[in-house]
């Protein structure tokens, strides 16, 4: 994302703290996606069945979304001020949550819950 030209960052400690704080939030989301994938794979195994390709696709995308959102926000915000970096990470986190819920809705349709 090309944002307004800003002065070079002068507070690397603050920037690092912001990046690490948001890393925890994204890791929590990643943990949820991975546990969801493992739970459904285990559930299918108990029933002696395989997860469908659609289920793998949706659950796998759920794992990739928080990783992609975090990496993209850090890359795009690395040369910005701490405030802009934090704002970009907030938007990335919110968008990641929305996309995860969209995938969950598609998954529910796929397994016939909706």
């Amino acid at each position: 994302m090309t944002v307004a030209a800003e002065a070079a960052p002068r507070r690397p400690g603050l920037r690092l703290a912001i990046v690490l704080a948001f890393l925890l939030a994204f890791l929590w989301q990643l943990l949820g996606a991975v546990s969801n994938l493992l739970a459904w794979a285990g559930f299918a195994a108990v029933l002696h069945r395989q997860l469908s390709a659609f289920a793998w696709l949706v659950l796998g995308a759920g794992v990739l979304v928080p990783i992609a959102a975090y990496v993209l926000a850090v890359l795009l915000g690395r040369a910005r001020t701490p405030g802009t970096l934090a704002l970009m990470l907030v938007v990335a986190y919110a968008a990641s949550q929305a996309l995860t819920l969209s995938l969950l809705a598609f998954f529910q349709v796929g397994i016939g819950v909706r």
Binding site: M1, T2, V91, A98, L101, S102
Partner: protein
């Protein structure tokens, strides 16, 4: 250029108690350093409206029974913490379209890139849980 004091005198009648105030000078748009053409404002308004509608859709989707059932408080302190973080995530999803719009409209100066990011956000953040519920 006319003398302002002479102008004031010309705009005042003898016996008038109320002084006629001269209109404030308009600052030309170019002097502000931002483009403010009507098409740009209309496009921003439309995309902002879409963002608000998407947020309303997300609110409906998050409050739907099928998604609400996936959010249950667990036992103990860890369960309560997890529940709180997950509720925060749902709130973030609801405000995501508006946050995206604000960030792109406010921080991106290049018009083409700004509208590209705004359009991407409008497509990416469609409230599928609500839309799938309606289908």
């Amino acid at each position: 250029m006319a003398d302002p004091e002479t102008d004031d005198e010309a705009l005042t009648w003898a016996g008038d108690e109320q002084e006629i105030v001269r209109p404030a000078r308009q600052v030309p748009p170019a002097a502000t350093g931002r483009e403010s053409g009507a098409p740009t404002l209309v496009a921003l308004g439309v995309l902002g409206g879409i963002a608000v509608l998407e947020s309303i859709g997300w609110l409906r989707g998050v409050l739907s029974a099928t998604l609400e059932a996936t959010l249950q408080p667990g036992p103990g302190a860890l369960g309560a913490f997890a529940f709180g973080v997950n509720v925060l995530g749902r709130v973030a999803a609801v405000v995501a379209p508006i946050l995206w719009f604000v960030l792109a409209a406010w921080r991106i100066r290049t018009p083409t890139r700004r509208f590209a990011w705004l359009a991407l956000g409008a497509v990416l953040l469609l409230p599928w849980p609500a839309l799938l519920g309606l289908l």
